[in-house]
Symmetry: C2
Subunit: 230 residues, 2 copies
DNA sequence: TTAATAGTGTCTCTAAGACAGTATCCG
DNA sequence: CGGATACTGTCTTAGAGACACTATTAA
């Protein structure tokens, strides 16, 4: 019945690309990096940074994603996570294709310091249509980030090395798009213990200085319980 | 610096396969379907059902996963979810390969009724080494299922169309490998409202009959709050 | 009636939210 | 000192666990 199930036969191979949703918080707004495509299809249009897997160079898809980021953005990546793999015969005019999508987070300072000229940061709320199914990929990325933010240390990767608890709470609130209780936030963050105070270091301003904290480990930590849904 | 970044050049394409972790609860034990490989590499060894993407036949990777399941198992799939995409130059001796892994859940009754002869169900706790990186894929699948079980209706897909709340609690306990409080469980399940009683239908036994329930929608529903970790 | 499982009422306890208080800086 | 922000103590409240109770069947 199923002639194609002959296990010895080799099949024509699909195209394999990686596409990266590079996100940061610029002026309190969650933004995505878009590049102007240098080749067909969609040459000249803004799209997610991405490209072919280089089988003679990349040791993994993660590797390919990092290479793409290095090439397009040249930024220190605080966090990289595989998102989802999209596929089909018609999503790319070059033929049956597989796109392994990634989500990357960087602190705003990195973006400001070292972004290439042909990359622009666009607020996720102001995204118009994108080539291929890149719009869907961005939606998956935003949903994933918001989801993980509710029960993990993920938003901390949008901040520099050291930060105050007020700054940390602010990033959580921006990513989750929700208000968090100040007391509960401190309690929870301190209980979970994924940050530690940097002894003797304070953020100084016009008011009382605030204790600076840093991540204990530079990996994602999950909480015992999620933030309330509000 | 990066000679390989020429955007016009086509690159050699990796092999693309799908591998499926088909799981069910057989006699209260979480089991995974393994098939004896019909071709090299690892011919004759037990491995996850999987195969090449057929670009002239499959409309998506999900499609390919369903085809593989149809071919190897011939079962009605209650739940199918993409897991993770593994990759690398050496995970498959045939060359640089990409494996898109899937997790599928089926009720035990389906398995008992219609499993093919060369497929065996093995308890996840008794898995030995598997070819390729299939062991890692199984680990990802089990972790994902346990994770989702703690905050969604996922375990319900391991049950037949109708079930009692006691049966539902039992599958949650088996999947999570934890005891759940009976009162809290009923409260939570009823509050979340993803199941509805089938009016007038009862499971009859040697004792008081139990109300039968069914899923309201045949899609995964997430809870407001997760089951406690304790 | 008894054994067994289905289902409910309610107390306790934990953790999140609310709110008011104290602490420490700048000017 | 006042204004502003950092940080803390504690009351209230929502939801999970514990436990005792009632309900309904077969034998």
């Amino acid at each position: 019945m199923n002639k194609a199930s002959d296990p010895e036969r080799e099949y024509p191979r699909p195209i394999v690309t990686v596409d990266v949703v590079l996100m940061t918080l610029l002026d309190d707004v969650l933004c995505v990096a878009l590049t102007s495509r240098r080749s067909e299809p969609w040459k000249g249009h803004l799209a997610l940074p991405g490209g072919y897997v280089h089988v003679n160079e990349d040791l993994s898809l993660d590797d390919a994603a990092r290479r793409v980021l290095e090439d397009k953005a040249g930024v220190r990546i605080a966090y990289l996570e595989q998102l989802y793999t999209l596929s089909g015969p018609s999503r790319d005019p070059r033929g049956w294709s597989v796109s392994v999508s990634y989500c990357a987070l960087v602190p705003a300072e990195e973006i400001r310091a070292s972004l290439k000229a042909d990359v622009s940061m666009v607020p996720v709320s102001k995204l118009s249509a994108l080539p291929f199914d890149h719009r869907r990929i961005v939606d998956v990325a935003v949903t994933r980030v918001q989801n993980k933010a509710s029960y993990s240390s993920l938003p901390a990767f949008l901040l520099p090395e050291t930060f105050t608890l007020a700054e940390l709470q602010h990033v959580y609130e921006r990513v989750l798009d929700a208000r968090l209780d100040r007391v509960s936030f401190r309690r929870k963050i301190e209980d979970q213990g994924f940050v530690e105070p940097v002894k003797g270091e304070f953020r100084k301003g016009a008011q009382r200085p605030a204790q600076l904290y840093r991540l204990r480990k530079h990996v994602l930590s999950s909480f015992d319980r999620a933030f309330a849904t509000g």
